[in-house]
Each structure stands twice: as C-alpha cells, then as structure tokens.
C-alpha cells in the first residue's frame, strides 16, 4: 500500500467507467427484410424448482423455429417476482421482454402502463380458442394484455393409504374434515390437515365456502368483513384450535410440502403446481397413493379460487415482435400439451383437453372439473395488493392472536385504504 491511494482511485475510476458503460447493452433486434425474427428475448419465468427445467427446455427450443433469436431464460422465484418485475419495468435496465405473470398481477402491471397489448390477431384467437375464464384474466379495461399460459385452482391433496388406514373417505365439507382428522389422529397418531397460515391465498376457499368474497367489484364494496368473512376466519381458527389441522406462520409452504411428503399429515390444500414436487416425496413413490378431491365445502358451498399464469410482453421491450412470437409459441397447443404431459399443469386452450396426453392425465381429470367450477376473482389492479394486509390478519386469526371478528374488521379497514372510495 505504498502509493496506494492514487492507484486505488484510478482503479475505482476505471471500475466506475466500466460499470457505467456496461449498463447500456443493445440487445435490440427486430425483423429483417425477409420478416425473420432476430435478437434476444429474455423471459422471466416464475415456475417452481421442480418445474423450471421443463420450462427452460421448452423456452430454449424456440430457437429451433427462429434460429436468429436467442432466448435468455431467467427463473425468478415466485414469491419475489411481482416486486422484482416492477423494479425492472420501472427502471427499464435489464428488464425482461416477456414475463410469466400470476393472473392476479396482470391488471396491476397493465394499469401502470408496463404491458404491451396483445396484437389484435392473437387476441381474437385467444377469445375464440381459449377457456373464457382464462382469457378474462389477461384483460384490463376490455383490452387484452396477456395470453393465458396455465390455469389452476386449489384442491384437497390426500394420502390415500393414510386415509384408508384410518378408515375415512376424503372429506367433502369442513365438518367431515374435522371428523376425519380426529379418526386419523386416533388411528395413526398423525395430524389430518396442514393449513397454510402464512399465505392468504389459502383463505379464499374458506370465504368462498361461506358464500362470500373479498370484494364485490361490481358494487365497489369491500365484503371481507361481512358475515361470510367472519365465518371464514372462524372456520380457519377452528380447524387449528380443534387439532384438525396444523399451521405455521413462517416458511409455511415448505413445511407443508415436507409434512405431506413424509406422511406427517394426511391432507393438504394445494394446486397443480405442487404435483410434481409431491410425487418426489417418500410417501408417493407409488404415484397412485396421491389423491386429489375438491376443496372441502363450508356452510354454503365448495369453491376454490381461479388461478393460473399469463404471459405478457413488456411495453418497453426493444424486441417486441420476437417477444410476441415467443408468447404465441409458449401458448401454442403443442407446448401446452407437452407441459401437461411432463408437469400435470392444466392447459388454457379448449382444444388441448382433447389431446390424448392431456385426456389421460389423472390430475387433469380431477382438476379440470374443479377449475370449471372455480370462483373467478375480480380482475382489478389492486387484486395482488389485497393479499398482503389480508395475510397479516389471516395469520393472526389462525394462530389465535386476534379474534375472527377483529381480524375481519381490520382486514376490511386495510382493504378500504387500498381501494379508495369503496364502501
């Protein structure tokens, strides 16, 4: 460190210059004279660890059709993705060209002006060839901003052997669930159900089961604190307090999967995205041991939320032509069929369900009717933002830190802060 300072200052200046220059990469490509696509398409995928290899393979094979296009596949963990996408879109630097967006995020991103409209020709095809409920999720103010990739809902996953050992049938209502859990505890010593306590998405089947909803978008009314909401919070607390279910308020998803895969619990509520990971568990080396039933009904009905993922193109993308072509490729019938075959995810194209590979898939056989009956959420921009305050109250209610009434009331108050001017 003799002549340290001057030398290091020089190094620092050089490093700064280098990083400053590195920022402005030109990955813009377009169509050349012959109409051939070129350039780089960066895709941010949010699929989970067991799914990502399949999606990467599929994404990269886009190059086979368009040799001049390079696909850059980036897996962004789902939990952080909404935030990271926003950061990237608002800064523009190194932003993805295509994203896989949860159906609940599309309206949010679109309302902020981040998404490029789906070209008219494609939009027409989507309206004609896709499941109507899925197509609706890609729209904001009657314009289509995203093409549906997969559709899903929640179901009751159960360990067939454990239920048989306890001599119970898959429960169809919460009451049956409690009786079944008591039997399971008595016969096997294990707990009946794992209930997510740290994610309010899992609250939706409960409130739908009581005939309620978070909000009534038509009348601009918050309904989470209505009688159905209170009943739903009560039901959640009751499951845990009665010992029918265990819960966690941190690392819940992972603990749920571990508990179900190792036979610590006999049932869990989850979606098709968890199928592949579940099959990897020691209890399900024989795949036939996994059963899936509709979510148990509350006092009014049984209903899971309609979920899924859409593909959207960034409005600031330098390579929009190739990006839209890429989206079209990813949502083509062939790709959807392949995804279903490998991952048991549900296609969004009506005709895909006629394909033998899809038809024969057991999980699709179960989930398709459930999806048909799933409750469509209000596709408002604030959709995604409701879950965060709801989570706080839901966790409090489930763990008994707040009464169901207080939880419902606070959730309603928080919702009204987000939805300005709503009743």
């Amino acid at each position: 460190m003799r002549r340290g300072i001057a030398a290091t200052a020089l190094v620092a200046a050089l490093a700064l210059a280098a990083t400053a220059c590195g920022g402005d990469k030109n990955d813009g490509g377009s169509t050349d004279a012959g109409g051939e696509l070129s350039g780089t398409v960066t895709w941010w995928d949010t699929s989970n660890d067991t799914e990502k290899a399949t999606f990467q393979k599929i994404a990269e094979s886009f190059t086979a059709k368009h040799p001049k296009v390079t696909v850059k596949y980036v897996n962004v963990p789902y939990g952080d993705a909404q935030n990271k996408v926003k950061n990237a879109f608002s800064s523009g630097a190194d932003a993805p060209d295509v994203i896989r967006a949860d159906v609940g995020w599309v309206a949010d991103f679109a309302s902020l002006g981040y998404l490029d409209k789906v070209p008219d020709a494609t939009a027409k095809k989507v309206d004609a060839e896709f499941l109507p409920a899925a197509a609706a999720s890609g729209k904001y103010e009657n314009q289509m901003y995203a093409v549906p990739q997969v559709i899903d809902t929640l179901g009751l996953f159960y360990n067939k052997k454990m239920l048989a050992d306890a001599g119970v049938q898959p429960p169809t209502t919460l009451e049956e669930l409690k009786t079944a859990s008591a039997k399971i505890k008595e016969k096997t010593g294990k707990t009946g159900l794992y209930l997510r306590g740290d994610d309010s998405y899992w609250f939706l089947p409960l409130i739908y089961g009581e005939g309620g909803d978070l909000v009534d978008a038509k009348n601009k009314t918050v309904t989470v604190d209505g009688p159905a909401g209170v009943k739903a919070f009560k039901a959640a607390r009751d499951l845990v307090a009665s010992g029918a279910a265990v819960t966690n308020s941190t690392d819940g998803y992972q603990n749920m999967q571990t508990a179900f895969k190792t036979g610590q619990v006999a049932m869990m509520i989850n979606g098709p995205w968890a199928i592949k990971d579940t099959y990897a568990g020691e209890q399900f080396t024989d795949k036939a041991n996994l059963g899936v039933a509709p979510v148990p009904a509350g006092s009014a009905k049984a209903g899971g939320p309609q979920g899924g993922h859409d593909l959207a193109v960034y409005a600031g993308s330098k390579n929009r032509a190739a990006a839209h072509a890429f989206v079209e490729y990813l949502s083509s019938q062939d790709v959807q069929t392949q995804v279903t075959k490998e991952l048991s995810l549900l296609p969004t194209r009506t005709a895909a369900y006629e394909q033998p590979d899809v038809k024969a898939n057991q999980m699709v056989q179960f989930f398709k009717p459930a999806v048909d009956k799933a409750v469509e959420r209000a596709w408002i921009p604030e959709n995604g933002s409701l879950f965060d305050p709801l989570k706080v109250e839901y966790t409090k209610a489930v763990t008994g830190a707040a009464t169901p009434e207080d939880a419902a009331k606070s959730a309603g108050a928080e919702f009204r802060k987000i939805l300005k001017g709503w009743k």
Binding site: D108, L112, G113, Y114, S249, N255, Y314, A315, V392, A402
Partner: protein, 332 residues
C-alpha cells in the same frame, strides 16, 4: 473549542458552506483567509453529502407532503413517457399516520426492541470482556470463538438462525422434542417471535460490544487496581469505582452506535420473520420498507412520511445524547 465562532456555527442550518453567509464582507474575507484550507478539506464531503443525501432528503420530505405513489409518478417505459400527476396534500399523510394506531404500536415495539437489545448486548458484552481481560490458558481460543458471530456477514447468520428456528424441521425443536420438551413456536407465535428476533440480534451484537469494551478495559492502567487492592477494596468495589468509570467514554460510544444500529436494524427482522407472524415483529424501518416496496401500489408518499418521522425520533435522541455529552465536558 471554536469558542469565537460557536454562535455563528450554532445558527447555521447544518451545512458547512452556509456558515459564512450573513456576515460582513470584511469578515467573510478574513474568514476565507484563515479557514480556506479547512473548508477546502471538508468540501468533498460537504459536496457529496449535499448531492446524495441532502437532495434526496429534501425530496423525501417533499414526497411526504404529496400523494405520490407508483401510479402517478413520472416514468418512462420504452418510448412512452408518463408525466408525474401527483399533487401536494399538505400534512395529510402525517395526520393519517399519526392518527393510525399502527404507528404507535410499531413505535412501542421498536423502542422496546431497541432498549432490550442494547441493554442485554451491553451487559453480556461487558461480562464477557471482563472474563477475557484476565490471563488464563485458552483465552485466545475463547476470544476467537466469541468473535465469530461478528466475522460472518449478518445476512448469512440470519438465514442460519431461520434454519435453526424452523418449527417443524429445525434442529432446536428436534433437540427439544428429543429432550421430552414440546416444540417451541420460535417464529410462529407473536411473543416467541419477538424473543427470537431479539436473541438473534443480541447474538450478532455481543462480539462488537465485547471487543470494544475489552479494548477499553485494557487501556485502564493496572496500577489503579493495584493501588485499590492495597487499600483493601473488594472486587465489586474495584469494578464499581475503577472499571466502570474507566469504561465511560467507550461505553457512551458503543451504546450510541448500538442504539442507532438496532433502531434501524432492517436485515434481522426482514430476513427472519418479514415482520411476522402477522405484523408482530414489524419495526418502524421495516414498516416503511413495506409501504414503499412490498405493498402494491407502492405508496411512496406514505413511506417517506414514515421515514421523516423515524428521522425526527432519531434527531431527538441525538440531541439528548449530545446534551449529556456536553454535561461531561466533551464539546464539539
């Protein structure tokens, strides 16, 4: 020090370059002639702080007086430029935050968290420093082991603790269950989660305290102890009348630093519990972060309001601290 200029200095707004303003021309010239080199030396810092702290700070205060959020700030998306459309709303944000019980709940917990963490850390650090300030075999080894939590980057340790704390699969509960005690909901119960985050923060903070206090102990002349012993002072009396006063200066500094760090301790809470379960471990800074980056649409004005309020609290603390320093005769 600087007695002849202290009045002017105290009136200045807090920016070194502003000080000379308002004096007579002759005074300015004379000041320049005497102090130009000092001012030139501090110029880089004043400049940098002005640009990267001063400007954002002013803007932060301004944002807190508007209704800015993600939807109405200016942004550029590809070829489209969207103009800013937020408006000035006066003190509405402050009224909203201060009349919301959430702010007061967070404040109470943040103060509790800071006081408990700092006092426990200080006590443990002092005890360990006293133990290590003796000659015995294995001292170097203990010192190395005890310093380890400081040597490992904080975010790594916090993840490690989260791994240990996992209720269903963490080692702590496996050991407890093995010992016949039931599992403890470390991060799943509001009270336990509070204890857990405090534990981790204390674990992270003790080595720094220990090392700093050990340095302080070693700078106390040994003769003082010998003389006291000669006078028949007991171990406790020696501790009370020699050790503690000898550590006064270093203690003041580490307590100040530790208080600031703990009050603003973002990573421990954010990475361990994300403020949960529910919102029971959310402190002021994590709440402000949540407003700006987790909630959607991102409430920039709300977050700035929280930031200004937090800063005001810290300023009050610093004022009190400076007053107590002055009482001890330290002036600057």
């Amino acid at each position: 020090m600087a007695v002849h200029t202290s009045r002017t200095a105290a009136q200045a707004a807090g920016d070194g370059t502003d000080v000379a303003r308002g004096r007579g021309r002759g005074g300015l010239k004379r000041a320049l002639a005497t102090h130009w080199y000092a001012w030139a030396m501090v110029a880089p810092v004043v400049l940098v702080l002005g640009v990267i702290i001063g400007w954002p700070l002013v803007r932060g205060v301004y944002l807190s007086l508007t209704d800015a959020n993600e939807r109405n700030v200016a942004r550029t998306i590809g070829a489209n430029t969207i103009e800013a459309s937020y408006s000035f709303v006066g003190l509405d944000n402050y009224t909203a935050v201060l009349s919301d019980p959430v702010f007061w709940q967070r404040l109470v917990w943040t103060v509790l968290w800071t006081v408990v963490c700092v006092s426990v850390t200080f006590t443990l650090g002092l005890a360990l420093a006293n133990m290590l300030n003796r000659n015995f075999r294995g001292r170097a080894f203990y010192r190395m082991a005890l310093i380890l939590p400081w040597a490992v980057p904080g975010f790594v340790s916090v993840f490690a603790w989260r791994f240990l704390f996992n209720r269903d699969n963490g080692i702590l509960n496996k050991v407890l269950e093995g010992g016949g005690i039931g599992a403890i909901p470390w991060l799943d119960d509001p009270t336990w989660a509070k204890l857990s985050v405090i534990t981790v923060n204390v674990w992270l903070g003790v080595p720094f305290m220990m090392v700093a206090l050990l340095g302080g102990l070693q700078s106390i002349p040994g003769e003082l102890y010998e003389a006291a012993e000669m006078d028949g002072a007991s171990a406790w009396q020696r501790f009370r009348h020699i050790t503690l006063p000898g550590l006064r200066a270093v203690s003041m500094t580490v307590i100040l630093l530790s208080t600031i760090w703990t009050f603003n301790m973002f990573p421990v809470i954010f990475l361990l519990t994300r403020g949960g379960p529910g919102d029971s471990t959310e402190i002021l800074v994590t709440q402000a972060f949540r407003e700006a980056f987790v909630s959607s649409p991102r409430d920039f004005a709300g977050s700035a309001t929280w930031g200004v309020l937090i800063l005001a609290l810290l300023m009050i603390f610093a004022l009190v601290y400076r007053r107590s320093l002055r009482k001890q005769g330290e002036v600057w």
